[in-house]
């Protein structure tokens, strides 16, 4: 049974490769996470012993993340921004799904491609182009009317818009895919049973879309949370966490508190990821 043996050897090699790949994926995260527990002022070897100070200690120089006002406020802003982005992009993603799945209109294919484009525009460029436009508009309004539209100045609003501009493509694609699988006869059946249009939407179509909406909201939330390139140009004085951490790293000097934040983020995102898998689990009823 020579072929069975070579097959087995090949398969073992293949599995080893897969295992190596996942080690590769996990390594930097494990490194970033584990230095959070190093009892040292620098996130570097040698190992100085285990500590939880970088999470809970309340005094300098080892100020733990849960006592670090700036990190906490970064976390807060990240959260606020991510929630807004998720809500907005899921809403627009849903209308886009209905638009492209249910409607016929001229140049539909063209518009569909246009919908995908934001995903492949480099984030830096999205950021600066929105920044340029917003500042030009704000400057023009200020010059002409003497009114300062602070919403158009770098700040949370622009960050939300900037992230929304490409995350909406992701949510649209996810929700569109689900709506495409929707069996129209379910709606017709509901009609036939006497429901009004609004009731059909509310009791049949939206519940059907719910898993996709939740999953895409989670993806939107996470992508927003980790976004750097677009945010960098649009951020004002309320910096989200990635920017705070970057500033800390590049301008202040990193301590294992950054590793502690990383660790917490990993745990949080991991949990969210599990939730999203749970809601997206192909329900056996799915048509």
């Amino acid at each position: 049974m020579a072929h069975a043996q070579t097959n087995r050897a090949l398969m073992a090699g293949y599995k080893a490769y897969v295992a190596a790949f996942f080690i590769f994926l996990a390594a930097p995260l494990i490194a970033a996470g584990s230095f959070a527990f190093n009892d040292s002022l620098f996130p570097a070897l040698p190992w100085q012993g285990f500590t939880l100070d970088w999470f809970f200690n309340d005094t300098e120089p080892k100020l733990g993340m849960f006592h670090d006002r700036r990190l906490l406020s970064g976390l807060y802003y990240s959260f606020v921004i991510a929630v807004m982005v998720a809500a907005l992009s899921v809403a627009v993603g849903t209308t886009n799904a209905f638009l492209f799945v249910r409607r016929e209109f001229p140049f539909k294919t063209f518009f569909y491609i246009v919908m995908i484009v934001p995903l492949v525009i480099p984030g830096v460029i999205l950021g600066i182009s929105i920044l340029v436009l917003a500042s030009n508009v704000a400057n023009a309004v200020y010059d002409r009317f003497g009114v300062e539209i602070s919403l158009l100045r770098p700040g949370i609003f622009l960050v939300v818009l900037g992230q929304f501009s490409f995350i909406t493509t992701i949510t649209s694609l996810v929700i569109t895919a689900r709506l495409k699988k929707f069996d129209l006869s379910l709606e017709e059946a509901a009609f036939n049973l006497g429901a009004s249009r609004a009731r059909v939407l509310w009791t049949i179509t939206l519940p059907y879309l719910r898993p996709a909406m939740i999953a895409s909201a989670i993806v939107a939330f996470l992508v927003s949370f980790e976004n750097f390139n677009t945010t960098l140009f649009l951020v004002g004085s309320e910096s989200p966490l990635t920017i705070t951490m970057y500033d800390r790293m590049a301008k202040v000097g990193s301590t294992p508190v950054l590793n502690a934040v990383s660790f917490v983020l990993m745990v949080g995102s991991g949990l969210l990821a599990l939730v999203s898998v749970a809601v997206q689990r192909p329900d056996p009823s799915g048509q």
Binding site: L29, L45, N96, L241, Y246, M266, L274
Partner: protein, 288 residues
Amino acid sequence: MTRDAKRLSLILLFAPFALWILLLIVLPHIGMVALSLREKVAPRVYEFGFGNYIDFLNEPIYWNTLLRTASMSLLVTALALLIGFPIAYYIAKIAGRRARGALFLMCLIPLWVSDLIRAFGWILLLRQTGVISSLLVWSGMTDEGIEFLYNDAAVIVGLVYTVILFMIVPLVSTLDGMGDDMIEAGYNLGGGHLTVLRRIIIPYAMPGIVAGCIVTFMLTAGSYLTPILLGGKNSSWFTEQIYNQFITRFNWESGAAFGFLLLAFTSITVWLGLRLSGQSLANTVART
């Protein structure tokens, strides 16, 4: 539904889409192009002109950096495909039902932390006194620590790491759609492993491959943190130039020109790729 109601609802559905695309994509890009066509002649005095683009062409540093960015991005894309394809295949076709979900989730793990933390992790691993080098010294394979950081290889490792899941995800979803019977038919009709791979699996996965390559390429070319943080003294990246123009040289006009050039250049590359592979954007990225 009456005609009018139909029209109205179409308009209502179209409005958010139109506002989004117009206000956040089209107008900003037009604004950027317009800005890039302004030449600074004196403080607060500007003129229309192509000066910023001419500067770009006249300065080999700029276009060298752009070419370097593009070619390294292509390399990263190719590596991501080579490394990612077997993984995607394993997840979609070989792993059992249960393992599949778990592995897929594990692939997404890097996505759940930011670029910054990923780069940070790599720095901790790769630096001369970092984990890998220390392990080598400890195991006696070298006497002195080896610097793995601050070179192009580190940048490529970091970038491949960052983008590979955008390669794997579309690959898994196309390969998932391919019935096992298709592959078995390939063997049954006499094909060896290579033939089946080359003639059946790869052509079938083509939309996923192209989608993955586009996203990977664009993300790489547009990345900022990883090349900055892991790159060495010679590694310039085009987004860094753009950043420098905007932030350290306050030269928005040429920054905008650079931005437009990056977008145009990467778009042309993608377009060429689509032409060569005979795919279209709609049937690739949209399917994933």
